[in-house]
Symmetry: C2
Subunit: 271 residues, 2 copies
């Protein structure tokens, strides 16, 4: 008998009955091993890596090939410092050499329309705003995996939606362009102990033919597994309590309850 | 001199000055080779593959670990037929053996809150709705790449947002759950000629430090390249004309201008 490395699906679920996949390969195993990295070495991420990340991002699907997104690569330490302050004062944004800000971008099409005196009224509707968020998300997820395939680590920063007006000013965002989320990118510090966070059992998120909430009953087990994982990483709590706290009321949104107002201010009224 | 296969980045951009990547690997090349597949062999996609796709999807990042998404695997031909009719009568939904419907799911948290008599008022705001769309998108993009790594092909179907009320009824969607987009999955028909669609030049979507629209001037070249690609695939038009048409007015949204009303009907008022 030889010692073998456990398949990454076992860390992903921490379910003793789900320790391997019948259909697997190196790309899938890279995906399964994803973790958010918040501690980076003092090492640059070069333009060569950035080119690969953007090429991967652009290879994702985009609704009707509209490509309704852009990305801003922020390296300037002073700008990262200001963005960190705006985004919940998360210090890792100051320490990551590269901070990517993903934009829902209906502005490019709007500038084309203006140059041809064409109407672009569809950008007034929530559908178009959401299309921009979805396009940016598909692109960003490809960039995350490309980064990981190059040995880099990343973490998403939704908190740049806490103060969208200041973020828009900082990044010179034009009409109909909105900063959806940030992504800190760097070389992971091997001394950081962050592990692979276990997720809900597959049965809870995967439904067959129609929505079926009967497997909600497994959430209690998951709460226990996540509490165990968190305890190993010097954190407390399982899943249920933080989820309920995070979604309890307007205050728990930390200003993001005003998202529609901010979108409107950027020319996306999201009707 | 030996014949070599061109790097997939050359098809992705069709830019004679951008034919390789200094930092590349098999995962990146799989991403770059992505194409939407709309013709499938009469071959099943098994539960083993589905398990891998969902494990990959669950490995994507999720805001605050809320996991505010679910997926419904639709295999029943009669149900796929009805969904195809609702989604712009796109026949490939009938022919793909597996149709995945990705859901923004705040309902799971709402059911937990109800069982504990806790408030969940934050789900009333657009921020939470968009969080569900972003979570579903990150998950789906991982599933797409996992599918491609197993030799399967996929295509996104945004048109299930054309008739959200009928889709919600068909899929028994409960309170605070919304169908964001579909994904047809199957074994690609090798007889289909669909190629890798070229994207905008990197300079147009990648900004440095701040947003900069000066590279919009390259869009004309791209329009020509895409027209060339389309001509090779028996289609016409470049990029600018279809984009302007797609976003011209309310009518071009094919009913999706009512997205906010439909979200409200599903318990997501998106204030």
């Amino acid at each position: 008998m030889t010692a073998t490395t456990p398949h990454p699906v076992s860390s992903r679920y921490r379910d003793p009955e789900f320790t391997t996949l019948p259909r697997t390969n190196l790309t899938v195993e890279l995906q399964l091993a994803h973790r958010s990295v918040r501690a980076f070495l003092d090492a640059p991420v070069g333009d060569e890596e950035l080119t690969t990340l953007v090429a991967a991002a652009q290879s994702a699907s985009t609704s009707s090939n509209l490509q309704a997104w852009s990305v801003i690569a922020v390296r300037d330490p002073a700008r990262r410092d200001r963005l960190a302050t705006l985004a919940g004062d998360q210090d890792f944004i100051r320490r990551a050499p590269l901070f990517l800000v993903w934009l829902a971008d209906l502005g490019r099409a709007a500038r084309l329309a203006a140059s041809q005196r064409a109407s672009l009224d569809a950008t007034r509707y929530l559908e178009s705003t959401i299309l921009g968020f979805v396009d940016a998300s598909l692109a960003a997820q490809n960039a995350v995996l490309a980064a990981e395939s190059l040995g880099l680590g990343t973490v998403f920063v939704g908190a740049i939606r806490d103060a969208p007006d200041a973020v828009a000013a900082e990044l010179h965002l034009p009409d109909r362009v909105f900063a959806t989320f940030g992504l800190a990118v760097g070389v992971p510090d091997p001394a950081e102990s962050a592990g692979v966070k276990p997720r809900l059992p597959q049965q809870v998120v995967l439904h067959r033919e129609v929505y079926d909430d009967s497997d909600d009953s497994l959430i209690g087990d998951y709460d226990t597994r996540l509490a165990q994982y968190n305890a190993e990483h010097s954190r407390s709590a399982g899943w249920i309590t933080p989820v309920l706290k995070r979604l309890a009321d307007r205050d728990s949104l930390k200003g993001r309850d005003r998202l529609r107002d901010h979108l409107r201010a950027q020319g996306l009224p999201s009707q």
